[in-house]
């Protein structure tokens, strides 16, 4: 029996499906400051360009990251100190950049149980 190639058709199918999804995701993405935004012409001699990109808030980052693996936990479930420990654990486990982790932590602590 000959040895099959290292990656067989299921892997290729999975990768292809994800590639198509990736293309669709790129088209579906609605990032702030989209260059397709319609410029608004005012009486000012300088036309208004696309809105400047803004950073995602802690609440937005929380809704993006904190239900990927488990149901969202309510900020009131823990104290501010406990959230600090949990976010450090999550930053490592879920591979979240430090700046985003701090924004999520600020949101959780501002709405924490105590």
């Amino acid at each position: 029996m000959h040895n099959p190639p290292f990656f067989s058709w299921p892997a290729l199918a999975l990768a292809a499906g994800c590639a198509f999804s990736l293309v669709g995701a790129g088209r579906a993405e609605a990032a702030p400051g989209d260059t397709n935004a319609v410029a608004v012409v005012t009486s000012s001699p300088v036309p208004v360009g696309p809105a400047p990109k803004r950073s995602l808030s802690g609440a937005e980052l929380y809704s993006i990251h904190c239900n990927r693996c488990h149901a969202e936990r309510y900020p009131t479930e823990r104290t501010a100190a406990q959230w600090k420990t949990i976010m450090l654990h999550m930053q490592v486990r879920a591979s979240i950049p430090g700046q985003q982790a701090r924004r999520i932590l600020q949101y959780l602590q501002e709405n924490s149980g105590r």
């Binding site: 993405e29 239900n67 936990r73 450090l88 490592v92 486990r93 950049p97």
Partner: protein, 443 residues
Amino acid sequence: MTGLLTAGSALWMAAPARLHAEVSDADFKALQETVAKLAGEVQSLRQTNQLVQQLHEQDQVQLQQLQQKLTETQQTAVDAQQKIAAAAATQTQPLPRVPIDETTVNHNFQILGDAEIQYAKADGGNGSFYLADFAPIFLYRGGDNILFEAGFDTTIANNAPAGGGYTTTFNLSFAQLDYVMTDWLTLCAGDMLLPLGTYSERGAGWLNKLPDDPLVRDALLPSSGVGAQLRGALPLGESGKIFNYSIYGVNGPSSADGSGLGSALDLGGNVGPNLHADPAGGGRVGLFLPFKPHYDLELGLSAMSGEWDNAGSHLWTAGVVDASLHLGSCFEVKGEYVRTRFGTDDLGMISQEGWWTQVGYKLSGLNLELPGINNVELIGRYDVVHGAYDSGNNAFDFNTRRYTVGYVYYITSALLFEGDYEFLHSNDPSQANQFILQLSYGF
């Protein structure tokens, strides 16, 4: 003298008659009473004076005692000051400042984790409460950037059908120290959950929506390894996109008896003195692409390789492709493809592969006004594992496919009542269809 007497007598005789007037009895009596009264008052005053004198003497004695005590106390204070001065003079250099923040109350200890209990019935067998599991995770934060985390798994499980009675097992799932060096770089060391795919890091008991792990995870991949790792994540712009990575060196798989025989491969036993010369290395790169909250795609590619037999003659290599997709808060699909290959002394090159894909849909997305329906999520999984080797005339191929249909009822967001039925197709006669119920709690 005689003249004086004479003059005095003359004056006495010439004095007015009123000087020689008689005192009446009443007046005398009154005078007597007055004198007596005065005498009594004098006596009383004498007694009072004596008493005051006595009190004064007592006060004097007490004052002397207080003065003596004050003198002793002052001497004690002087002695203590001298001792302190002497101790300070002999003290060594002050401790150097440490770079981590330990001067404020910035430590915290917590227990997270999960617990499960299962009821199972395999075709042709009797149903029973199959196992109970308690898996705490201890987190100790020693500052802003230092975390020690350890997970344990305590399980009691029925020995049937292999034997009678039950077995209690206690395992250390992982124990690692994390030092967040920068926003995008973390050093981990210890017994670490390995980033081969994402299931071992993000698929703990209650996070896995079905009672069983995918077949390929336990059969083909080590879940943890002892070593060190650098990992992190880099934001790509401000829309939430992330590039994440990890690279690690661990002891890796080993041989249960030191030989290179195919049956001796031990995926998780190489702990302690390294049984072979070289550690294994591996890594993962991934892209996380959120479109908007609850809509995201994650793709990852992992690999690991290292010698596994004591002689160092054979490599064990694994590769994993992982993907997950969320379309709204109700729909998710995820999966992994795994391929491993390792050389042996007796069976030649052994190739194994497997994959799993899992779909979940929360019925709350249907907006049905039925009681309890919004708490139900339907789950389906298809997983496969098979392996093959060819050592000349001795060829073997094992193959197991499993179709699982199940549900999760969310009693709360962390208390889950799960159930599934697993249809198995395998050339292993010990595999059978089974029905499983599980109550799972994440804390």
